[in-house]
Symmetry: none
Subunit: 232 residues, 2 copies
DNA sequence: CGGGAACGTAAGGGAATCGTAAGGAATCCG
DNA sequence: CGGATTCCTTACGATTCCCTTACGTTCCCG
């Protein structure tokens, strides 16, 4: 009942990118695919995926650069894709801070397996410091996705599973506007029809719990005619 | 790090075992080598290495069994050795709780690299008292993983193997929310389907034994719609 | 300005989820 | 081998909360 993890795949070979995307989606993950490093840096400046699958050899900005850049900013887990002949690069990439690597040509199934294991370690049972980075702090609002605890102005707030999932999605994408159908897709993630007013109701419940004044929201803002956004 | 980490290698092919030992020693680690699973279990009942390199296919007691046994008792990192043709076994071993795996035939250099990376991840994070201590004390609750004894409010409580394993996992990760599938994966560690209500039942049994009032749990809390967490 | 669309709010029913007890199968030990 | 213990499944009752609905409020556009 939680939001599937978001995987960013950065791979310039379209056939590999496509197969990777298919297998990861089939495994239940949300997947974004980019074809070059510069696009990846742009993306990562705005988004925070749960894991990055990153080709070492990319045109322009290469995998090592992206890894370095990302490592300076977050503990988002990285799985490096590398060709067999590049063992030394492989080792270097690995010790640069990538969480794992897969040698091309690779079985998509192996990749899924490694994604799953890395995510399990970083989002699951691990007590590593990576876990500590899942605490998102804003002015007067703290969200810890490991413990599913939320504090508003220093007070612990009890959210239901759905409320937490909704808030968690919004705070991971500050200022991004989501319409109701997007939120239903990303948070509810179900195929059958759900009335969009459900989102409205859940937003109200969230506001009731975390806003200083729910009738004049500070964090969860309505974008009239579109949807909602989180303002940090 | 004044004492080099101790690596246990369990591998029945003498040539592989010897090369592995040489490379790991050359990389600066202390290495113990054993040729079969039963010997490994004996060893592990007495010694606690910093990392285990474990062949999946062993005569007698196999690698999966050892992994399961070890995982129920400690967080010692495990690197699984597996042959290429055994991809499904590889995947299963990986998801059983092994920290990494290497496909035979492998470059010893790759293995050293992975050993280094896994140790970096696990020992870098081991400043957490939750991982370093064998006796965990909380208010009114003491868990000794060496003796597998539990005391609740000064009284010794008899737990079954499964009950202890479940409690042990939870208390090692205070406040971390685990869903039922995660608990099945981490505590039960089996690949065939087990009904998630099994977790519910075991939680109830645990609560019955350790909680002051099992109907109003103090330690093992339900996160509705998600799973459970341990509140210290 | 007025009307319609979109949003906010509160309440209730139903379904999903959780808790509990019991039974059968598997395992262990004397 | 037989009895005791453990584990998992199952059935059913209890609890929680999620979604829908109805109606009031706000916003936007003609």
């Amino acid at each position: 009942m939680t939001t599937p993890p978001l995987i960013l795949v950065v791979e310039d070979e379209p056939s590999i990118a496509e197969v990777t995307r298919l297998y990861l989606q089939r495994a239940g993950y949300r997947v974004d695919v980019l074809g070059d490093g510069a696009a990846a840096l742009d993306y990562l400046a705005r988004e925070m995926p749960d894991l990055v699958v990153l080709d070492l050899m990319l045109p322009g900005v290469d995998g090592l650069e992206i890894t370095r850049w990302l490592r300076a900013r977050s503990d988002t887990p990285i799985i490096m894709l590398t060709a067999r002949r590049e063992e030394t690069d492989r080792v270097l990439g690995f010790e640069m801070g990538a969480d794992d690597y897969v040698v091309k040509p690779f079985s998509p199934r192996e990749l899924v397996s490694r994604v799953r294991a890395v995510l399990r370690r970083t989002q699951g049972a691990s007590s590593s410091p990576v876990q500590a980075q899942r605490v998102l702090e804003f002015e007067g609002l703290v969200i810890d996705s490991n413990t599913r605890q939320v504090h508003a102005r220093g007070q612990e707030v009890t959210l239901t599973a759905r409320e937490f999932d909704l808030l968690h999605l919004l705070v991971r994408h500050p200022r991004q506007v989501f319409n109701r159908d997007q939120l239903l897709d990303l948070v509810w993630g179900v195929n059958e029809f759900i009335d969009p007013s459900t989102v409205t109701v859940h937003v109200r419940r969230l506001r009731e719990k975390i806003e200083p004044d729910p009738s004049k929201p500070r964090y969860i803002l309505t974008v009239w005619g579109v949807g909602y956004k989180f303002e940090p």
